[in-house]
Structures are given as structure tokens and as C-alpha cells.
């Protein structure tokens, strides 16, 4: 090993003058694959989407018709798109309102029960939903929600709540909420583990000091742990917000946005327009609008969290 190193040393000494060029070449060579891939599969497609939004095209015929901003005016008065947009925001709001408190609660529960053996099993099983693909979860819950062969309605009947039973995915009033419940079921474990890691990261002397001062467990969590993990909570909120706007798989598998657009999201609507209906121009318009909305929201979040950080 030592000889190799010495040889290296001997061989490279005369080249010292050339080092700046080697560095330049390293930069170019090492960044090239990344830049090419992102250029071809991310940046250029974004530009292309905006460009396609100016055309009327089925994606197959060799000619496409330039129609200017017509697709965009159509989008402005497209009730289904705005319904999908509102649904997306319902999804965002409910995701945050359910997953964040539930995630913190479960994390506290796991931390409290740490010493009990059965909690090893609990923790293992709690995380299972994150391991299945959204497609598998969607299909599974289609049957869980099934009015006859599922598990929700029979469970309600057994509990004497027969009047609550319904066609969970077929009823326009509840379909969106049924789907959101599954989204929460799937993602809560993720935030649970995130918060658990944050809780464990709190220095133990803070905890000890609190107990010496006579604080109980609940006082500790409320007054010390919660403020300590607020950075993590902020990260989780950003992740959840941005993730909810891009949601597609689960809704597509469970309802395809139906019944009659009741659970339509921007992503499912965009897919429907572009692929099954071969309206590539309008599909691109919806996709571009989604891009603008997500980017705007990200910017707002960035500014907000930064301001928040300086204030606190």
C-alpha cells in the first residue's frame, strides 16, 4: 500500500502545473450526466408542455393546429378543472389536519411504550402501509370499502350503526373523503417515524431538568418536546403540502376521479384529458397550470418558512 502511494506521488508530481485543467475537466465530466438527464427528462419537457399548450393536437396526427391561448381560456372556464383544484386543496387541508396531530400522537405513544415488548410489534406493523405500493393499497381499499364484501359496512352493522353504511366510493358526497382517509392511513406512519426520530433527538438533560422542576409527562411533551421538534413539523408540513398537490396513483386506482368527478384531482384530470381522450394540447395546459400552482406554492412556502425561522 505504501509503495503504491509513493508511486502515485512520484507519477503525479510533474503534472502539478496541469491541475487547473484537470479540475475543469472533472467539473464538466462529473456534472455532464446529471445535466443531460435533467435537461432531457425534466427541463425540456416543462418547456415543451407550455409549448404544446398552445396547440390543438391529438398526439398522433402529423399536423397540429396552433390555437394560441385558446386552451388557457378554456381552462379558465372549465368547471371540472376548478373542482379538481378545490379537491386538491381539500386533500391538502385534511391531510395536514389529520396526519400531523395523529403522527405526533403515535410518535409519543411509541416513545412512551418503548420499554414494553408488545410495542416492538406495534411499531413494526404501524409502518406496513408505507411499504405497499399505492396501487396495491388502492385495490385493497376498493375491496375494504366494498358495500357487500368489504369490512367497513359489516363492522358498522356489527356496531349497530347500520344507518351509517353506504357505498363509500360510489356516493358523490363521500367518495373524496373515503379516498382521503386512505391517503391518511397510508402516510401517517411516515410522519410518525419522522416525529419519533425528532423526539428521540431531544437532549435527555432537557427532559431530566423538566422532571426535576416537577413537570409531568404531558407537560413535558406540550411545553418542551413540541417546541423542540417544530423544525421537523415544519419540514413535514412542506412535504405533505407539496406531495398532496401531486397526488395521483391511489385516486386513479380507487375511483379514477369519479363518481362524476367527485374525487377528481388535477393530476387525474390531466391524465384523462391527455391519454384516454387524446387531447394532448389541453392535457399539456392542465399540466402547465399544475406546474405553475406547485411552483408558486413552493415559493410562498419558502418565503414563509424563512420568515418564520427568523422570527422564532
Amino acid at each position: 500500500m505504501a509503495t503504491v502511494a509513493r508511486q502515485d506521488f512520484a507519477r503525479s508530481t510533474p503534472n502539478r502545473r496541469l491541475r487547473p485543467t484537470e479540475t475543469t475537466w472533472t467539473i464538466i465530466l462529473f456534472l455532464l450526466p446529471t445535466l443531460v438527464l435533467l435537461g432531457v427528462f425534466v427541463i425540456w419537457p416543462i418547456v415543451s408542455s407550455f409549448q404544446l399548450s398552445l396547440y390543438d393536437w391529438d398526439g398522433l396526427s402529423p399536423t397540429r393546429e396552433f390555437i394560441g391561448l385558446e386552451n388557457w381560456t378554456r381552462l379558465r372556464s372549465d368547471n371540472i378543472f376548478w373542482k379538481a383544484f378545490r379537491n386538491n386543496f381539500t386533500l391538502v387541508t385534511l391531510s395536514l389536519a389529520i396526519q400531523m396531530p395523529l403522527g405526533v400522537g403515535l410518535a409519543v405513544l411509541l416513545e412512551q411504550g418503548e420499554k414494553l415488548f408488545i410495542f416492538k410489534i406495534f411499531k413494526t406493523v404501524y409502518f406496513f402501509p408505507m411499504l405497499m405500493s399505492s396501487v396495491a393499497i388502492g385495490i385493497l381499499f376498493k375491496y375494504v370499502y366494498d358495500p357487500v364484501f368489504g369490512i367497513i359496512n359489516p363492522a358498522l352493522e356489527a356496531a349497530g350503526l347500520s344507518s351509517w353504511t353506504r357505498s363509500w366510493l360510489g356516493d358523490t358526497d363521500v367518495a373524496l373523503f373515503s379516498v382521503i382517509a386512505v391517503v391518511c392511513w397510508q402516510y401517517t406512519p411516515f410522519y410518525m417515524i419522522l416525529y419519533l426520530a425528532a423526539l428521540r433527538g431531544i437532549p435527555t438533560d432537557l427532559r431530566d431538568a423538566a422532571f426535576i422542576d416537577g413537570a409531568g409527562e404531558s407537560r413535558y411533551y406540550w411545553s418542551i418536546a413540541l417546541p423542540q421538534i417544530q423544525g421537523t413539523i415544519r419540514t413535514a408540513i412542506v412535504l405533505s403540502l407539496i406531495g398532496s398537490l401531486k397526488y395521483f396513483d391511489l385516486i386513479w386506482v380507487m375511483t379514477e376521479g369519479g363518481p362524476s368527478n367527485a374525487s377528481e384531482l388535477m393530476a387525474t384530470y390531466m391524465y384523462k384529458k391527455a391519454f384516454p381522450s387524446f387531447d394532448m394540447g389541453y392535457g399539456s395546459t392542465i399540466a402547465s397550470a399544475m406546474f405553475i400552482i406547485v411552483m408558486l406554492l413552493s415559493l410562498v412556502l419558502m418565503v414563509l418558512t424563512r420568515r418564520f425561522e427568523t422570527e422564532v
Partner: protein, 277 residues
């Protein structure tokens, strides 16, 4: 004092059991139904009733009848190749961002990190058209480009942070000994970055193993399907045979659940890496 503790533990276990039922019941339903006979669900007994004649038939049908192993092979292949490429490419880029000073370092890094929030749906139509134009449409390898490209920003972000936390002394010593940037990268940074790389590999593998949208848009032929897409196809094929579908779901979920049970802490760490930065 002892009764206090007893009450506290009993409460904890009771609460824990409530969520255990919520999180676990669908899995129980899935596994149990897979062992039932086709028409048993129509018999009017409860869905949680034990199978009358537990049968492996559904599982056997899936494993021998269709092309389950072909889908499995497709998924393993595309995930393995994609993850390998993601790791190599992002290691190279991260090294430049973490260690080499040049004017465009910061702007380029920010540009790549902005890729973290881009909704992939905005690229779906152009990527579909592009794939068709280059003749890769409807092939497993059509997924390679999008799979690698979309996971680069997060991977580069994580690895750059990781490399910045590696002390510079060894590289400085190597520099004095005349080592250039490439040698530093291969001999010093790569070995030291391996824990970060392992975590990142798990993260990317899980994400891609479950990926659906690109596969859904870019592939139609049955012999090219990945596992998530195949489940979707099975569902169409067996729509009224619930036990058969449940056995497919169970089999498709099993690999990841087994890996998770064996290496729980590593898998958890890998899956959380995107959030813990």
C-alpha cells in the same frame, strides 16, 4: 406507585391496540381472503371469518398460471439498473458540488434542488412523445431515463450534504502528495461516503419498486409490465374473484415486508432519508 404504572401501561397498550387494528385490519383481510375459496365470500359469513377450507390454490394459480415471475424479474431489473445509475451519477455530481469551488457551483446546485418540487405530471406528455419518437415506447427500458432523472435531485441533495460533513484533512494530505480531484474522489470520498450511499440506495429502491405513473403511461405490453402495473392488470383480469386478487396483493407486498422485517432499522432510515435531509 405500582398501580399507577400498571394503569399507565394498560392505557398505552389499549391505545396501541386501537391503531394496531386500524393499521393492521386491511392486511389481515388481505392475507385471510387470499386463502378463501372463490365463492366463500358470497356465503354470507363475515369477512373476518376463518376460511372454511384454507387453500393455497389462489397463490398457486398466481405463481404458476400467469407471468408473476416475469413481472418480478422486470421490476428487479429496472430497479437495480436505475438505482445503480442514480448512485453513480449523483456521487459524481455531489462530489463536484461538495468539494470543487467554481463560479456556477451554487446556481447549478439550486437549479437541481428546484427539481425536488417539480410535479412529474408536467413532464408526462413530452416524455411520452419523446419515448415514442426514439422507439423505446412500450419497452421496460423506456422507464430508465425518467426513473434516473427524477430521483437525481433528491439523491444529489442528500449526498452533497453527506460529503460536506466528511472532514477535508485526508484530501488535503492527498493534495499535498499530488493527487488530483479524480484520484481524491475515487480513493478517499467514495469509501467514506459508502454509509450514505447505502441509505440512499434503499430509499431509491423502495420509491422505484412502487412507481406507477411512468410505467402506466409508457408500457402496455403484458410481458414488459413492472409489478405495480401488473397488479393493476390482474385486477382487471380477476375483477370478480376477490380471493385471487387478494393473493396477488399479498404476494406483491411480501418481498418488501420481508426485507423490512429482517432489516427494520436500515429500511426505516433509508425511507426517511428524504425527509431528514
Amino acid at each position: 406507585m405500582r398501580t399507577d404504572k400498571l394503569i399507565k401501561n394498560a392505557t398505552l397498550i389499549a391505545l396501541g391496540t386501537v391503531w394496531m387494528v386500524i393499521a393492521g385490519a386491511p392486511f389481515y383481510f388481505m392475507a385471510l381472503t387470499g386463502f378463501k375459496e372463490r365463492f366463500e365470500l358470497f356465503s354470507g359469513k363475515g369477512v373476518f371469518a376463518m376460511p372454511e377450507n384454507p387453500t393455497w390454490l389462489n397463490f398457486e394459480d398466481v405463481l404458476t398460471g400467469g407471468s408473476f415471475f416475469n413481472y418480478l424479474k422486470n421490476s428487479v431489473l429496472i430497479v437495480a439498473v436505475s438505482v445503480a445509475l442514480i448512485l453513480i451519477i449523483s456521487l459524481m455530481a455531489s462530489y463536484v458540488f461538495a468539494r470543487i469551488r467554481f463560479r456556477l457551483n451554487r446556481p447549478l446546485f439550486i437549479l437541481i434542488i428546484a427539481g425536488l418540487v417539480i410535479p412529474l405530471h408536467v413532464t408526462l406528455i413530452p416524455v411520452y412523445l419523446f419515448t415514442r419518437n426514439i422507439g423505446l415506447y412500450d419497452s421496460l427500458w423506456a422507464l430508465l431515463g425518467p426513473y434516473v432523472a427524477f430521483n437525481l435531485p433528491i439523491s444529489i441533495f442528500i449526498l452533497t450534504e453527506f460529503m460536506r460533513s466528511i472532514p477535508r484533512e485526508m484530501e488535503e494530505a492527498a493534495f499535498i502528495d499530488g493527487a488530483g480531484p479524480i484520484r481524491s474522489f475515487l480513493r478517499i470520498i467514495l469509501p467514506l461516503a459508502s454509509p450514505g450511499v447505502a441509505t440512499l440506495a434503499i430509499y431509491n429502491a423502495v420509491v422505484l419498486w412502487n412507481e406507477f405513473v411512468f410505467a402506466f403511461v409508457l408500457i402496455t405490453s403484458t410481458d414488459q409490465l413492472t409489478l405495480p402495473l401488473a397488479i393493476w392488470e390482474y385486477q382487471g383480469q380477476y375483477s370478480m374473484n376477490i380471493p385471487a386478487i387478494m393473493s396477488v396483493l399479498t404476494l406483491s407486498a411480501l418481498p418488501l415486508i420481508l426485507v423490512y422485517i429482517v432489516g427494520q432499522e436500515r429500511v426505516l432510515k433509508g425511507m426517511m432519508v428524504g425527509a431528514l435531509k
